[in-house]
Structures are given as C-alpha cells and as structure tokens.
Assembly symmetry: C2
Homo-oligomer: 155 residues x 2
C-alpha cells in the first residue's frame, strides 16, 4: 500500500526533524514539532531523568539541555516505524556525539560518545501533520544477560 509507505516515511522525517532541531539548538522548531492538542498531554524522559509532562516542562528541559550543550550530533541507526491509524511508534538507536562548552572561548569542549535507545510516539493532527506525543530515551548499559556468555567472543 503506497499510502501506508508514504505515512511511514513522513513519520521518519518528523523523527529526524526532532533530532535536527536539538542539534541546531532550535527552540522555535521544537515548539512546532511537539504535539499541541488539548487532552493529549506530551511526555518526555531524557536518559536517566524522571518523567516530564506537558509542553512547558518538556520544552523547558530541551532549552536547558541545548543551552548547556556546545555541540551535539545524533547518528540514528536501527530506525523502525510502526503506523496504526493516527498514531505512529518509532524506535531507534541514537549514537550521540556531544561536547560541553569549552573552558576558553573559541575552543571546543571535550567530546563524549553516548549510546541511547529511544521510543518516540507521534500523533497525526487534523491537518495531517505528524507531531511528537512522547519521547523516551535511555542509556544502553554494557553486559546484557543474553550476550555476555554466548561462548567465544574472547578467542
């Protein structure tokens, strides 16, 4: 079904736009990207954080993160989109490269790599646009049960 494929592609574009807005530190874009409908409260979990709810709390948290981050880039891998009616669920891996502000102006702070997995939920509005309803990111910790003793990883 070409319609379904198109919607899935549009969801993936909305998902990419979310990360690009963070990369640019674009608070105006963030306000546009997040759902703004009465009755459907947005929620957000940054890696290691408690749950944030409502547009103002969520958008403020991004403003805080973007203000305290000098450089951030997301390399998205393993992106999967599942669309059902007016809701879409995206899971992906965020390979993050970020830098804190440098101590001296004009320099780049130390870069840090981070592996995060995300579940992002989107709603299609009456206008046909896909908006972020929920973002949940969490750190991937080393040493999963089913991988650590699969025989001979260490020949």
């Amino acid at each position: 079904m070409s319609t379904a494929r198109t919607e899935s592609e549009r969801v993936e574009l909305a998902n990419t736009a979310l990360y690009e807005a963070v990369e640019r530190g674009d608070t105006a874009a963030m306000e546009q990207l997040w759902l703004n409908e009465p009755g459907a409260e947005v929620s957000c979990v940054h890696p290691g954080w408690p749950v944030l709810r409502g547009r103002s709390e969520v958008l403020r948290s991004y403003a805080l993160i973007m203000a305290s981050t000098d450089y951030i880039q997301f390399f998205l891998t393993d992106v999967e989109v599942s669309v059902t009616g007016d809701t879409a669920l995206v899971t992906c891996t965020e390979n993050i490269l970020s830098g804190a502000p440098a101590e001296n102006e004009g320099e780049l702070g130390p870069l840090v790599g981070q592996l995060v997995v995300a579940t992002n939920v989107f709603r299609r509005t009456a206008g046909g646009e896909w908006k972020v309803w929920s973002h949940h990111g969490s750190p991937v910790l080393a040493g999963e049960e089913d991988e650590e003793d699969d025989g001979d990883e260490s020949p």
Copy 2:
C-alpha cells in the same frame, strides 16, 4: 465525559495487569496482554537494554527475566494516562523491589530496590480491549545536570 473516564480507567487496569503478570511470572498472561495485530509490531526496552521488537523476542525476554528473578514487586506511583482515539499513553514510576534466587533452596536472595520510569503505549483492539503496544523502562539516575555540580565533588 464519562466514556473517556471509563476508557482511561480501563487503560490503567491494563497497565497494572502488565506488572502483576511479571510479579506472578505468568507467561500465559503476558501473551494475552501484549498486542497481537499484524502491522503493529510491539517493542520493548528494559532498563539499560537495547530495543527488542516483535512478540516472540519481547515475550522471550520477559520469560528470561521472570525465570532469573525469585521475587519481584512493583509499587507504581505517579501514574498518568492519556487516551486519544484507539491509543493510550501511560507514564509511571516503577518502585521495584526484587530478589535474585537464593544460593540455598528455601531461602530468599538479597532484595534490591530500583527506581525506574516507564512509558507504556496501549492500543484498543477491534474487540475493545487495551493491549500493550510498547513498553520502555529506564533507570532514574541520581544527580541530574542541575544538581550534580552544586559545589564540591572533588574536594
């Protein structure tokens, strides 16, 4: 609207049932609780894990967790339900008390407390039942950015 309130309550019951099934180690209940619809692939992120996708992978992970857990209890707090059409989004805090199998039979292993936040997405089926479409749990880490450098970490 009483209809909306009823649906919200039904979603909360489905959310509670998910955790009770894990507490009981009830794999048959888990199979019933998770969405089983072609085109809407389920996904699951356990705290610190990568993304798991599809019923068989997700249910197998729960069977593994339940088999390696002697005792687990979830105290859910801060539960918020948002229903829009046939989709519901639940965020909550899982205050987990769990114990690994004891070394000696008949004894209880050491109990561990854990603080996890979850975003759970539910779909209403054609039969009117709310089923789990996605679960994402992540550890709440101490010392958020705005708290960690309040003075003297390195005295």
